[in-house]
Symmetry: none
Amino acid sequence: MNAELVAIGSELLGPLRAETNTLWITEQLLEAGVSVAARVTVADELPLIASAFRAALGRADVVIATGGLGPTADDLTREAAAAATGRELRRDPQILARLRERFAHYGRTMSDTNAKQADLVAGAAPLANPRGTAPGQRIEVDGRHLFLLPGPPGEMRPMFEAEVLPRLRAALGPTAVVRRRVLRIASMPEGEVDQVIAPVYSRFDNPKTTILGSPGQVELHLVARGKDADQAEAAIARLGDALHEALPGRIYSEDGRDLPAVVLDLMVARGLTLALAESCTGGLLASRLTEVPGSSRVLERGYVTYSNRAKTEDLGVPPALLEEVGAVSEPVAAAMAEGARARASASIGVGITGIAGPDGGTPEKPVGLVFVAISGAAGSAWRRCLFPGSRGRIRYQASQYALEMLRGGLLGLPLP
Amino acid sequence: MNAELVAIGSELLGPLRAETNTLWITEQLLEAGVSVAARVTVADELPLIASAFRAALGRADVVIATGGLGPTADDLTREAAAAATGRELRRDPQILARLRERFAHYGRTMSDTNAKQADLVAGAAPLANPRGTAPGQRIEVDGRHLFLLPGPPGEMRPMFEAEVLPRLRAALGPTAVVRRRVLRIASMPEGEVDQVIAPVYSRFDNPKTTILGSPGQVELHLVARGKDADQAEAAIARLGDALHEALPGRIYSEDGRDLPAVVLDLMVARGLTLALAESCTGGLLASRLTEVPGSSRVLERGYVTYSNRAKTEDLGVPPALLEEVGAVSEPVAAAMAEGARARASASIGVGITGIAGPDGGTPEKPVGLVFVAISGAAGSAWRRCLFPGSRGRIRYQASQYALEMLRGGLLGLPLP
């Protein structure tokens, strides 16, 4: 079963206003095992709303609309539902009587405009609205369901829970349980990941796989369905295992942890401490690590050595070396890592030096060139990287690469 | 002229992911005088995307789609645009060559899957993407325009500005001119700002004022209309002047620069250098400053002294002082600032120490307590702050407060 959500209201189409009803409904639906195929937000214009309803009823089993049920001239959801389904609007005497009572209860007289809130699409069942004036409506159209709900969340949510969710659950039967898992991979381009895993995930109809790439990171979102939790979890595990096999050692997390947390946990488990020496990343790696609660157990200290003088004074990088090979070089990255480690008496040192741009690049050392070195008791490893993109992206990818090198080193994996 | 926006991506239909591209585009379109009639978010399924395109092209003058232009199997926007317009997809040899070059430049071979990024809908004009691999497309359909833009905001926004907006402006011809200005204020709560300025901005019908608050920062968005640029700019200037008067010295930027850039510019102009000593912010302040191109002219170095030993060894904070008053204290913040300044021979030193949480708080020193100190040739200043919120928010607000203290000190303003 799939659903489409239609949010109605010109005010929702401004730049600053977040539309929250459909997010909340999505969450409820996913939990119940209904996936959302599309979300639409339309202005308060009759042809637009009707067209959105027609399109949604043409492709979804359940269409849930919010908003436009009030008494004012721009509340046009009822009229649009009638137009989209080719039915009449009929004023319901019972609803009208209840509206009048409600107004009387609050000591007010009902204006004529309010009466249109008693209009029902022919064949529709009204949905009670204990928190407000406008009732909702449930309309069956060729075996598909169109629900009209009010816009204010305080009215919409209880109506959804009381009138919509139980009907969907009954229609679904006891079958649909959804489980999801997010697998994360660092420092491997999206295209490369997909080339490796497409033959794997395309064999599976369940779970469904979505790939999300961002600089330095790829996420694989697996969504499985089953008739119970065991079945859904087994489906996730089958694909998960196959993906681990296709990308040996490269999936760093499947429990929601980000890369800094994974690296910190590995170091805590091994009783290791860390010292950082950052040039082009300028504290970004330290900041990402210290964002994780408890990172003080691992991170002894960090140095942001932007100037050559700082590299020499704080990390003991020989001035002759800087002179000879330049600050952006493998030997300097290694000397920074070793200097930080020695100075902090830490188990592991990391050194990062590069050209984040946008200026400062040369043909030999272009913008995006970064050297990352890791130093431990057993020796050093370093890598030359060339990262694409803006200054911010280069810096982020450099920090991500250093973390992935650390993780690989701790687990005895080959360098990425 | 009206527009419809189509955001493509199954990941955007989960409950947790905010879809921000269409909000940003809406803002740009409104400024240009184009209203948005509908926004649609659809899953990565070919019939859904094609149906959304057909519906949108049936009711809007301009349809702008974002996402689904990547190399993976679930990137289906090109195929859907071809299906919706009844045209073929053709592989463009020039685009293919540029893709290969780009991959070669970064030392990678292009996989076969990447080649589909060179597919153009017949009759479409490609839109250059200097920030990424996938070009956009502009397709004319019966006098209507369908633009296909990439999903990553860093690629989408420059393409929208360079390729979409100028075409819409040309089509609209001379209409009302809109000018906007964003005034930024640091380290002052939204409610406090509003209390001071509401009597001011409510006197103005033009510009319209929107207040956007986030931890440590408030933005005032002024949008003015006029029959020409002079008139719109005069309206902005009138309200802008009145707001400066209501908040003397507190508006740090109205030209788009963020606080780190403003502080760095002030220091460059005065020929000053900076050294940082961070404990609870763990490199966040260094990272925010070094995110700005050219920051190396100012930032001599930074120390992330998470441990007491690092505070003593790197910054010369006396062990007896740490013992006596604790690491989270005014004297230690001041000693850190002075130690960093002296060690780096910098003009100004900053020290930050506090409890970012979620653990480690006590009744006397609760989570959120942060001491910020600034040290210069003329002496030191420090402040005790208590920031609300999560670890991330506390750290961000602490870094923001330190920057605002620096700015105030450089301009001779009273401490915030």
